[in-house]
Amino acid sequence: MSPEPAPEPPTAELSRPFAAELSPRLAADSARSRTLLAARDYGGLVLLGLLAWALLTGLNSFWSSVLASVLIWTVATSGLNVIAGLGGYPSLVQGAFYGLGAYGSAIALTDGLPLWLAMVIGVGLAGLSGLLIGAIFARTRGQYFAIGTLFFGVIVALVLNNWSSLTGGPLGTPVPFVFADAGQLNVLIAAAAAAALMLVRFIQASRLGRRLVTVREDEDLAEHVGVPTGRTKLIGFVISACVAGFAGVLIAQYNSTLSPDLFDYSVGFVMFVALSVGGAGRVLGPLLGSLFIVGVPNLLNLPSGLGLLLVGLVFVAVVILVPGGLMSGLDALIRPLLSQARFRRARHPVDHPDVVR
């Protein structure tokens, strides 16, 4: 267990820049360790991507398809991690952006457009809706934001179901498969998952990421010290939407057919569940959460009702008992083993736990 009194020790990545502002001697020191940390993190994520690709290729078709779903969900929930994890805004509309990306790219491909253009259309459609919805709902807070975004998810599901001439209605629509073979798609899925995790890692260390965290911690205070909270939230929200749109492009290709119930409004909320269970605001949170939410019910081959029932129970238990999600549970297990990390903390007492939670 962590020796500090704070309930959740700061992640090294976040606290370092603040340390740099406090002392020039530490600044040089911390610039070096920041580079080291970045190299470690990005290197690790590249390795993770390679591992995912190896597993996708090596496993039998059942395990491989479960893993592919997990990886695609990792992309979508990584997007959610920007606005909901870093920014603390409970967006329940991620499933709709995911659906818009899927249907946007599928319709473009059906019309004979090339893949890259279909990707741009899918991601663009999700991003534009994100801009529109964000412009209205970014001004609302907490509960209102959750309800408003959930409602938009319902609207998108309605449109997918009812605009039959475009979407094929409740029966769904086939998607032209544009890759040479499944192997190419596997490369893309593994790369996309690693890239999405890296994107969150990058944003987390950037000015946008720090601004989002200040919004999460205390929006009024953030505004007082000059953070443009409205714009920050809007940018975070649009990034979330675009990443989800890309995940939609992937699922359209992987599934080779789309139906509206894949993008029911409840999907957005299960994505939020996945993120919270994994660890909101943590780079690897979406991966752990997706493994848990998508992987476990699939692997145990549970009937869908029982699977979701258990997901709900675990989710409530995690939110109540382990607010930081599985990642913080992992921290508590690993931290005592890393005596080096403890040593580093002792040398740099200025890593204020209360500056950034």
């Binding site: 001004r139 509960q143 309800i147 959930l150 409602f151 009937p303 009702g305 029982l306 709900g312 109540i320």
Partner: protein
Amino acid sequence: MLAQTLAEGIVLGSLFALLGVGLTLVFGVMDVPNFAQAGVITLSAYVMLWLRNRVGLPFWPAIGLGVLFAGVLSALTERFAYRYVRTRPLAAPAVALGLLLVLDNTALLLWGGDHVSLSTPYESALLRFGGVQVPAVSAVLVLTTAASLVVLQLFLHRTSVGRAIRAVSQNAEAAAILGIRPQTQYVTAFFVSGLLAGLAAFAYAPTYAVFPYMADAVLLNAFVVVILGGLGNVWGAVLGGLLLGIVETVGAVYVSAAYQTAFGFGLLLLMLVFRPTGLFTTGTRRVA
């Protein structure tokens, strides 16, 4: 045609108002957006069906026990879940959604996913007011809402328990200093809100089908009502409910029935853009 549409709008609006009042009561007292209310409605409708068809109770006792069951279930969600996140506002919507998953899927496991209907002794009756035709089940819905609101109003204003709930809603700390136990009021508010959910199940299960996700979309509308009326404002919820019911029905009849819910969303958007504090806010948050 217009009169008929308005009448249907009022029926739908009464349902939204009945649901919205239960939500706003809990929100006013405890700041919880209780998405799990939909699960309470569903399970209580199934319990009514089960008591009626399997146990063989007469209609009214089955309904009464079903409503009571909803109240107890709702109080249990407070006792075993919401109580632990009261100091963490961001966790409340998450817990609510998790509970909704649990409750809906419990219904799915126990009773399957088929659509079944709750039949009433008065289901074939049709009332006529001038040129407007109203099925008796719809009339019962409106009457149930009206009666529930009157009783709720009397409860909140004329009984000591109701006054205590309002006190906690206005200022929990000050109420605690005066010797009111907030914890008791939280459970009571959830119990009352659950009773309202049970009444809603009784009121609309006969017109709609009973199935595990029956209340989810309706409850979203109820949340729009709560936002329209201002979170925590009971009479705002009533007016917001009627307004939303009429807007959605008129939209469904004159524009497109498939996009009925979308008109409610449009109303929500307009309101958030032009009156972000709610239509009927009084400045302070209140329960009644």
